[in-house]
Structure formats: C-alpha cells, structure tokens
Amino acid sequence: MKALVLAELLKIRSTRTQVALVLATLAFVPWTAALTIPKKGAENVPVSLDDPRLLGVAIGNSFGAPIVLMLLLGGVAFTQEFRYGTVTSMYLVEPQRIRILVAKWVTLVLVGGVVATLTLVVSVPFSAALIGFRDGEVSLGVTFWEMVAAGFVVMPVFGVIGVAIGALVRNQITAVVAVLVWMLALEQLVISSYPEVGRWMPGATSFVLLQMGPSVDPDGELLSASAAGLLLAAYTAVAVALALRLTPKRDVL
C-alpha cells in the first residue's frame, strides 16, 4: 500500500494541472474570507466587527473554494487515469483494483491535509490583518480552533468523495462539470430557494461544519453541526461503498 501511495503522490507532483488548480484556488481564499468581514460602520451584518467569532467565521468561509478543489482533485485522480489510458498500466501493476482505490483515498486524505494547511496559511494572516485594519476584534477563540479542526476534517473527506465520484463516473469532463454545477450552482440555488430540501445536501453539511451558516443561511435553517457531521459521514460511506463495489467489476476496454 505504501508503494501505491508513493506512486500516487508522484503522479500529483509530475504534472502541472494539480499544482495549478491548488494555486488558482488559493487565490480565491482571501476573497472568500473577506466576504464575511464587514466594513467599518456596516449594519445588519451576519457577524459584526466586534464579534469574537469573526476570525473563526472568516477562516471557515475561506474553505469554500478549497472544498470544491478537493472534490475536483479527488475526481481527477481517477478520471485522468481513464482519460489518458494510464488506468491500464496501473491495473496491470496492481490487479487488485481496490488497493488502487484505497491508495488514492489515502493520498487524497494527505492532500486534504496539505490543502487545509495552505488555506490557513493564506487565510489566517489575511483575515487577521483585514479585521485589525477595520478596527475589529481579532480573537483566537473557540470558533477559530473549531474551524481549524473542521478544515482538517472536511478537506480530506471531500477528497475521498471526489475519488469515489471519479471511480464511478470515469469520464473526466462529465465528472468535473457535474462537481462544478452541483457545488457552485445547484446546491446554492436549492439551499437559498428550498432550504427544507437544501439542508440535506452534501455541500450544505460542509457549510454547517465550517460555520458558513451566517453567510449562506441567515435564517438558520441548516442542520445542527452533529446532524450535518453524521449526514456527511453517511454520504461519504455511500460513495465509498459504491466505488468499492463497482470498481473491481467494470471492464477496461
């Protein structure tokens, strides 16, 4: 398993696509963090400048783009193998396909940790500086540490789901378009228009865990953190189970 994981890490390092995706996503991090930090004197804002939760909420919000990134990286980890035909040589190296699937999950968990770290490296100093510049309260309170912990859980989990999506869909364009449309359009639309339905969607669970609620759910209709965590675990389990069941059986033509 260690050899397969090392090979997966080599794959990521040996092409520019994944590195470019990570860098492009990190460029969005300050912008998404800034969305939650109100201007001086702004009224009717979800979290005010003197709220000690503000830094934590900004950090949670900054994980919005990296969530999508992790789904894409996970999906591409498998669909790219089919797109370029490298899946054949990988299955010849390791005919027990489940071992390759597990190696990709382990790799994406590691990548999730790296992406969470990089996100924090960008978002924490930027958010703290912006809050300070606007004379707000910079507090490393409970909310901040909850968001740091949530980032290190949610990023790997979405990487795992992404790999499962890639293993099931196999067509790279279909998988990437589906992830983008789902996360950036469909879920946002459903959550805002039909919150009683949207609260059960996978992305909505991450909004709860990363406490994006104040910015995406001002009416507080999303699930509780514990329910969202359980629901995300259930979605992950279903995706993993389907990938484990179908991957060994499908012909590679």
């Binding site: 040996s14 092409t15 370029y84 490298t86 040589s89 010849l92 005919p95």
Partner: protein
C-alpha cells in the same frame, strides 16, 4: 527467470447479444513468438484484455501456467504488456511515467533508466510524452512492459505507429526476447508484419479461432506460386498466357501464379531456358483467403482499399 506458458481455454466474451470472443482455446509457449492474427474487430484486443484481467470473461479461462493474472504474486515481474501507445499522461516525462510504475510495483530505482536505454529512448527520457511521436510512445509502451524484466510479453499491435526502421528494430527485439526463453504473445492485423518473427500463428475472426499452427505449416500450405529467372521472359510469358496462368514481370524475372512443376513443364514444352525456378509462398494472400473463407465481410482494411 522461468518462462510461463499462456493458456486460453474456451475464452468467451459477450457484450449483450454481441459475442466478441467465442470459445477461444490456444496456447503460447516459452521461447516462441505466438502471433494472434485477425482483421480489425476480430476480437484480438478483447482476448488480450481478458488474459490480463482488464475485461471479465463471460466464460472460459485465460491463465499463465494455470494462474489468472490477478492471482500472480508479482505480476509486473512475470508479465509485461503493451496495450495502447497512448497510455501515458502527455504532461509527464517518460522517466516520470516509468518511475510511477516502478514505484507502484516496488521495482529497483534503476529499472526505468534500464528500459529507456533498451528501447532507445534514453536521450528523450526527460521530454514530456505529449511531444513524442506515435512511434516513440509505442517504444515507451514497450519500455513499460519490460520494466519488471518479465518472462511473458503480451503486445497488442506493437508495430502501430512505427516507421520501417522501427518495425525492423521491433522484430529483432521481440525475436531476441523469445530467444532468451520468454513467452511472447503479440497481436497483429497483418501476417506480413509477423511472418519474419512469429513461430506460431493463431488466426482469429469474428471472435472465433480459425487456425492454430506453426508458421512453417502455414507457409507450406500456402506455397502456390513460383519465381522464375529466364533470359527470354517474353516467350515464357506468352506460354503462360496461352496456358491461362497469370504472371507479372519482377526485377529479375517473372512471378507466376502457378506451382513450379507446372512452370517447368511449360518452359520445357516451349524450349525456354530457365536459370532459376523456385516455389514461393504468398502468406498474406493465404491469410486473406482463410479469413475471407468464413465471411466476405471480414476483409482487412488494406484489402478493402485495394479492391475499391
């Protein structure tokens, strides 16, 4: 290195109602090059993919000394395969591609450099594969197949994309591998591509195995023509015309569609001096006749083009 025999037994694959491979049974032995021949769509690739565990058979078995591919303890060290020249990310260098496979297979660190050297790609090892020609990608596929120094080679249309020097190099390379005692099973849609390399031929069309024989047997049965050298080709040509035998002028005489005994009799009857008379085997024609015998539609593309 202990070479393994490849054995197909009643191998069958159906996609819905379409039977792509229909009860194929055959053996490829160590020390031999076995050619799986057939026109496009005959089921060659599906057969090889079933052998390598990439496609699940609907029936029958495909094994290496009795073991399925997924039952081999170290598959890359036992079986090397080239299935598609494009099986590499275009953004990676050839060296990176091979390092990934070597790492995953727990092969020695120097294995990628060794096979790049063997396949003549060492100078281009650090170029991105997207910049490679089809022939270079084919060589890279061979390099990947040889990474574990396997005792069995499975090559699907290995001459695709190779230029004539590349084809000649491949023939020598494959022949050398078999002479080292390895089992080589390769597919091709043209007998002419393998007649200088193969020891044994398996002819497949419409998913069924039509023929399994040594190339020598195939050649002996196909020996229907003659090559003649004479100082008077026009008189001999007239005699052949009169007797209803087709012929054509070639560099040093005539190529005749009649056995040498018949040509000799005609020359003697017309007092034509012959300097040389030998039988020839047009294997490609014999191969076409064999596959056309089962179905007129089953012509290789080259024949269809020649006809049209």
């Amino acid at each position: 290195m202990r070479a393994r025999a490849v054995e197909l037994s009643g191998l069958t694959k159906a996609f819905g109602d379409f039977v792509a491979v229909d009860g194929v049974s055959a053996v490829a032995l160590p020390g031999q090059v076995t050619a799986l021949l057939g026109p496009n769509g005959a089921g060659k690739t599906t057969t090889l993919r079933m052998l390598l565990g990439l496609v699940a058979p609907s029936g029958g078995t495909a094994t290496f000394d009795g073991k399925r591919y997924d039952e081999l303890s170290e598959p890359v060290r036992q079986v090397g395969a080239l299935l598609e020249a494009s099986g590499c990310h275009p953004g990676r260098t050839a060296l990176a591609h091979l390092r990934i496979l070597a790492t995953a297979a727990r092969l020695p660190r120097e294995a990628p450099e060794r096979v790049l050297e063997e396949t003549g790609l060492a100078a281009d090892a650090r170029r991105r594969v997207g910049e490679y020609s089809l022939g270079m990608r084919q060589r890279l596929g061979l390099a990947a197949a040889m990474l574990g120094d396997p005792s069995v080679l499975v090559l699907d249309e290995p001459t695709n994309g190779l230029d004539p020097p590349g084809v000649r190099w491949l023939r020598g390379y494959v022949r050398r591998l078999a002479d080292e005692g390895r089992t080589v099973l390769l597919s091709s849609h043209a007998l002419s591509e393998v007649e200088l390399t193969a020891d044994h031929v398996l002819v497949l069309t419409h998913g069924r195995l039509l023929r399994s024989s040594t190339l020598a047997e195939f050649r002996a049965e196909a020996g229907v023509g003659s090559r003649v050298r004479t100082p008077d080709p026009h008189r001999l040509g007239a005699a052949l015309d009169a007797a209803g035998h087709a012929y054509r002028l070639v560099d040093d005489g005539l190529a005749v569609d009649a056995p040498p005994e018949r040509v000799g009799e005609l020359a003697a009857a017309h007092g034509v001096v012959l300097h040389r008379l030998e039988g020839t085997a047009d294997l490609e024609q014999a191969f076409f006749r064999l596959i056309q015998g089962t179905d007129q539609v089953a012509q290789p593309e080259s024949t269809q083009e020649a006809v049209s």
